[in-house]
């Protein structure tokens, strides 16, 4: 028999040490090799290459690329879009999770399905539907141009598609958690005389804060990183309606590798922060 591993208590190790479940050593090594090789080639390499390309011509070129007016404008627009989108979808996520997990009503499962709908729509189609609504030939197009309101090829259009694309993120993280939590604690607080808001802020919010934070972070990452839907409605006006991902595209197509990857490095950094926080939350939940 194998000697018990020093990290006993870990379920995975226990499975590994049960004779009947043990795969031959060569097979284990081969499979681990395949898995690690795949992850290194397909996931680590791209992530590392973003940094390598961004700093290929040194720190100075990197910061110079980032301080170019078009890059700064793109970064500012990206932040504005995220600042408008994330709070809206966060409030929605909390309200939807509260209604769905704390009450019984007919059509609940249909509502849950509809909330997930934007996930199954191609980014390009997400952009297209807003063109059909607000474009010059769209439903509201003539009315909007008569009143001098610009939605397409302007910031409002970009915000609208981003809200659509990131719609389910917060609700999706909260609904399963609040379902599992049950509402005994909230009922106790309410029956002891606490008001609705007080109960929410003192009981519910502390219980869901990590999942809420993760949902907000995912929503934010996608809001800052959305490409397909935004590129359909943005019109690609440099320094005006280019978000950071669109700026990556424009710089790349201009053969400005440092510029493209400098902007990309900000977005990649955001992705890494999201992944680290996710691991942290999973570790905390354990």
């Amino acid at each position: 028999m194998q000697a018990p591993s020093s990290t006993a208590g870990n379920a995975i190790v226990r499975i590994g040490n049960r004779q009947a479940l043990r795969d031959p050593l060569w097979l284990r090594c081969a499979l681990i090799g395949v898995a690690v090789g795949f992850i290194v080639l397909f996931l680590c390499l791209p992530l590392g290459l973003v940094l390598y390309q961004a700093f290929a011509k040194g720190w100075q070129a990197y910061f110079q690329a980032l301080s170019e007016p078009d890059t700064v404008a793109a970064l500012r627009l990206t932040l504005i879009v995220a600042l408008a989108t994330v709070p809206l979808n966060t409030i929605f996520g909390i309200a939807a999770a509260w209604a769905i997990t704390r009450f019984e009503f007919p059509g609940k499962s249909l509502l849950t399905t509809l909330i997930d709908l934007p996930f199954s729509v191609s980014p390009v189609i997400s952009g297209l539907i807003f063109v059909l609504l607000f474009g010059s030939q769209g439903w509201f197009g003539p009315w909007l141009s008569a009143h001098q309101i610009k939605i397409m090829f302007a910031t409002p259009g970009i915000i609208l598609v981003t809200v659509f694309v990131t719609f389910p993120f917060v609700a999706r993280e909260l609904i399963p958690l609040m379902q599992e939590m049950g509402n005994e604690e909230e009922e106790a607080a309410l029956s002891l005389g606490a008001g609705g808001w007080k109960t929410f802020f003192l009981i519910t919010l502390p219980n869901i804060k990590w999942a809420l934070l993760y949902g907000v972070l995912l929503c934010n990452a996608r809001a800052m990183g959305e490409f397909g839907a935004v590129s359909v409605v943005s019109g690609h006006i440099r320094g005006l309606t280019d978000t950071l991902p669109l700026h990556v595209e424009v710089s790349y197509n201009d053969y400005d590798a440092v510029g493209a990857f400098a902007s990309a490095s900000i977005l990649a950094g955001l992705a890494v922060v999201t992944l680290v926080l996710k691991s942290f939350l999973e570790w905390k939940a354990r």
């Binding site: 190790v13 795969d23 395949v34 996931l43 390009v124 659509f164 669109l246 992705a271």
Partner: protein, 275 residues
Amino acid sequence: MTQSSIMPGFRPALAFTLGYLTLIVLIPLSSLLFTSLQLDWNEYLDIMIDRRVLAAFRISFLTSLAASVIAGLFGFVIAWVMVRYPFAGKRVLDALIDLPFALPTAVAGVVLATIYQPGGIVGKWLIDNFGLQVAYTPLGIVVALIFIGIPFVVRTIEPVLQEFDTTMEEAAACLGASRLQVFAKIILPNLFPAVLTGVSLAFARGIGEYGSVIFIAGNLPYVSEIAPLLIVIKLEQYQYAGATSIAFSMLIVSFLLLLGLNLLQRRLRKRSGQI
């Protein structure tokens, strides 16, 4: 309805949820539906049987299918290794699986194109050793879609594998089954629905994927031009009917795909007696 009357805020929460959902999701999506219904049937057919449109759909389908099957194979191995084998650095690698979810598609697109272009790190190696060009061919699309699809497969299989009842494997082993027999007769049939779900999710996502594909694809009409790109091209030429027809067909396809998957899963579950 058994509902605790003590919980407050039902009406405002539900009203806000429904109002916001209608405004942001339902009305915009219905614009596609109604615009499609206004199209003339013959016009729609003319657009859809155009050679370039058919070619784009064929490319989107075949590359997504190939990528999701490959992602399914590797995803299965990765999920297996992550759940069953202890090894150093596993936590970090496991966290990295979600990278394609978190990395903006445009970033993935430019970085994959840089790696696989003829002068890139992997691209040069492949051309020198195998004469295989990946970037700017349908193969490049497959690579991008494998990248996008892998977390769908791994994250669908992992929880099922974690819950897997290992006593079944032990029983089979006690009755004299070899490890290979246990895998073929016990493990694979039980994990198959999860594998199928993961592969289908990757496939559905792959058909609609845009940002990570267009940089590496080269976008040659009839060769490496995907259906979503054709929507963008039609929109840029103000051909709204064309863009809407393609989008509508894509939505129908993904709807049928999800429906088929649901039915298949129900049948598989019934057969294995879990209902």
